[in-house]
């Protein structure tokens, strides 16, 4: 293969190459833009899972899940105390959730924590950016995450309204880069109970002394308590993985549609290139060029087009995602990861190879005599 020759051929038909390139660029851009959405969601969910690492989540059997704020899960103080007494359990911390907001998609989750044992929900080593942490006798005060404070321009002493009740902001949590914490509003669990008119909890987090015991403790909770459901951080990770891989499949699948059409464009271009250069191919063959050499030559051409298109598509997609992220003010979970870029490039290159395969095969099997005489 002679690199010079490949580029010379690609430049022969500038308009055609440009149009083919544009097709690949658009296709890969779509993959990156849509893929960034699923990467963002995956990151958000894994952030949520980080908070549960090494813990067991206990809810009432048959109650609702994370999406609806565990509605209908009722756990009482007695169950909390019983869980605390189990072998290997270091602590149990209750959580309550209130979902509020104006309509679809704009909802907000308010987390109720027990200030005495609940700091482990946020993470033991996380401090405050400003103000103070919640105290156990606090009422109608809240601490908010860093980005939440930033987005809503909240300062200490400001008020936020939750279910018609005003809460004073007393603390802003330091930036953690975990959007579940950074975007959160946390209040005393007693306030959640008052707002929900209940004296029960929705979720209990069981923290073991030894993380290795997590599965056996979860099993014994499920065995001993008939109406409780305990799942470990590993179970949750497994459930989350099945959800995120589905989202990934859909977004990348939809993104791939236009890239595939771009691949057809490469094939079309290469079919035409082979046809135009029949004579040339004939001469090369007559001069001793092997089939393999000819095939490599044309495959290299289509691969070069697809690599250039892939690179430009990745850059353009990245740019669009960045602009969209800024325009949405952080409310869209968009993220371009190395693996997404890798996927985009690999997809572009496989389009180049597949699109070039048929035309280069036709070129390789041309009969030199016929090719030269018929032109």
């Amino acid at each position: 293969m002679i690199v010079d020759y490949i580029f010379k051929n690609i430049r022969r038909q500038r308009t055609r190459t440009a149009l083919t390139l544009l097709g690949i660029v658009i296709g890969i851009t779509t993959i990156i833009a849509l893929g960034s959405f699923s990467e963002g969601i995956t990151q958000y969910i894994s952030g949520a899972l980080e908070l549960t690492a090494g813990k067991i989540m206990v809810t009432q059997k048959g109650s609702s899940g994370f999406v609806t704020g565990f509605a209908g899960s009722d756990l009482n103080d007695q169950q909390l105390e019983e869980l605390k007494l189990m072998d290997g359990v270091k602590d149990v911390t209750p959580l309550g959730f209130i979902i509020s907001g104006g309509g679809f998609g704009s909802s907000e989750v308010i987390v109720g924590i027990d200030p005495e044992s609940g700091t482990s929900f946020v993470g033991e080593n996380i401090g405050m950016h400003d103000g103070r942490e919640l105290l156990s006798d606090d009422t109608e005060v809240a601490m908010v995450g860093y980005t939440k404070a930033d987005d809503d321009k909240l300062e200490l002493g400001d008020f936020i309204v939750i279910k018609e009740v005003e809460f004073e902001v007393v603390g802003i949590i330091e930036k953690t880069d975990n959007s579940n914490v950074d975007g959160s509003i946390m209040i005393n669990i007693k306030d959640v109970q008052a707002l929900l008119k209940t004296d029960t909890y929705q979720v209990l987090y069981v923290i073991p002394y030894n993380v290795d015991d997590i599965q056996s403790i979860a099993d014994s909770i499920n065995g001993e308590f008939e109406d409780l459901n305990a799942i470990t951080s590993k179970d949750m990770a497994r459930q989350a993985a099945s959800v995120t891989s589905q989202i990934q499949l859909y977004t990348l699948g939809m993104g791939a549609i236009s890239a595939v059409v771009g691949g057809l464009g490469i094939m079309n271009t290469m079919v035409m290139a082979v046809m135009e250069r029949r004579k040339e191919i004939g001469v090369m063959k007559a001069m001793g060029a092997t089939r393999l050499w000819i095939m490599q030559q044309f495959l290299a051409e289509s691969l070069v087009i697809s690599i250039i298109g892939g690179l430009l598509g990745v850059l353009l997609g990245w740019g669009i995602v960045t602009i969209a992220g800024i325009a949405a003010g952080g409310s869209l979970p968009l993220r371009v990861t190395p693996s997404l870029i890798g996927f985009g490039m690999a997809f572009a290159m496989s389009l180049g190879l597949l699109g070039g395969a048929y035309p280069s095969w036709t070129a390789a099997k041309l009969d030199p005599v016929q090719a030269i005489s018929q032109g």
Partner: protein, 376 residues
């Protein structure tokens, strides 16, 4: 002109097929994905029939849908609503939906607490049972179940359905209505429901105005006068739902449109090549007196024809896929290919075909016949 165009298009079959295939994929995607959003639209309009002429009231700050789960409307507030002028009836609704713990999917059933006498008002029409008997005022420990629930869990009258660890006897199975509030529901007496959740408040209420036309003004009155409550009229809800569906269908259309656009680039390429190959021919036509607009039309017709072939293929593939989607969804949704959707897909393909042909056509027109005839 059409037969010349057809002959030219068929001269280079591989090239034409590849260009048309690109359009086919794009239009196929527009129609298959679009059929999903059209299906959602049909589904929602059926749901909307249940709420027509009503006002939905929830606790302020809790919104509609999933968020209504943490909404509380107290008995006192229900009484106040009933006393507002222009209100004919208030339907208190207890609502509970289980979801697999963690991140797993949405539940396929929900529990609804109602006064049995208000079931008809709740659904906006009278419903009968296909098996057993209707739930009556005063029934306790008994439920009416929707047809989808009955089918999915193979329930028959007399079976036991468990809601939040409590067992209920199935008294009747309701006829299918295409309203998910019934078909996917386990309906129990409001008193049973309140015992179950341990609260005397309800999650929401429908307020029925004396005159359906006054739903909008009644909504305003409730929002202004009743502190702590938030009201949405049937029109507000329809607007919200329509907004979401429009977003979805715009998104799905864009996905297919981008692919079709890329296909259009391929058509343009093909036409550029075709014009170049036919330089002599075009020169000869010009020399024999063909006008510029005739040549222009000829080339654009050809590219539109390639696009149309692709679009017809795409429409067939899209329709086939919509059936596959409906079958795969297993009754959860029905993908619908509407005439409007077909027209959008094919129309879009034609626009792309015409646009893709314009630049090559201009090149053909610009050719100097003398030079073109000399060209080899």
């Amino acid at each position: 002109m059409l037969d010349i165009a057809y002959r030219n298009v068929m001269r280079q079959r591989t090239r034409t097929a590849l260009s048309a295939l690109g359009i086919l994929i794009g239009i196929g995607a527009i129609i298959a994905l679009g059929s999903v959003s059209e299906g959602l639209r049909t589904m929602v309009s059926e749901e909307m029939s249940a709420i027509a002429g009503k006002v939905m009231v929830t606790q302020a700050g809790t919104g509609m849908s999933m968020q209504a789960l943490s909404s509380d409307v107290t008995p006192e507030q229900l009484d106040e609503l009933a006393m507002l002028s222009g209100v004919s009836e208030v339907v208190p609704i207890g609502f509970y939906m289980p979801i697999g713990v963690g991140f797993s999917g949405v539940s396929d059933w929900m529990a609804i607490g109602l006064h049995p006498s208000q079931i008809g008002t709740f659904l906006g029409k009278t419903v009968g049972v296909t098996e057993g008997e209707m739930l009556e005022e005063g029934d306790s420990g008994e439920v009416l179940i929707g047809s989808d629930v009955a089918e999915r869990y193979n329930y028959v009258v007399g079976d036991t359905a468990t809601v939040k660890e409590t067992e209920f006897t199935i008294k009747g199975i309701a006829e299918k209505t295409d309203i998910s509030d019934l078909d996917m529901a386990i309906i129990m007496n409001l008193e049973d429901f309140q015992d179950l959740v341990g609260k005397d408040s309800v999650q929401m209420a429908y307020v029925i105005p004396d005159n359906p036309a006054e739903a909008e003004s009644l909504t305003d009155t409730i929002n202004a006068e009743m502190e702590g409550l938030s009201a949405m009229s049937d029109k507000d809800i329809a607007r919200t739902a329509e907004g979401i569906i429009s977003t979805i269908s715009f998104f799905t259309f864009s996905i297919g449109a981008i692919a079709a656009f890329v296909g259009g680039l391929s058509i343009m390429n093909t036409m550029i090549m075709s014009v170049m190959e036919r330089k002599r021919e075009i020169g000869a036509m010009k020399a024999m007196g063909a006008t510029s607009s005739w040549i222009m039309k000829q080339i654009v017709t050809e590219s539109a024809m390639i696009s149309l072939i692709g679009a017809i293929g795409g429409a067939s593939v899209g329709i086939a896929l919509s059936f596959v989607i409906t079958a795969a969804a297993g009754g959860a949704m029905k993908a619908v290919v509407t005439p409007g959707l077909l027209a959008t897909g094919i129309g879009f393909a034609m626009v792309i075909g015409i646009l893709g042909g314009l630049y090559p056509a201009r090149q053909a027109v610009k050719m100097d016949p003398v030079e073109a005839l000399r060209y080899e």
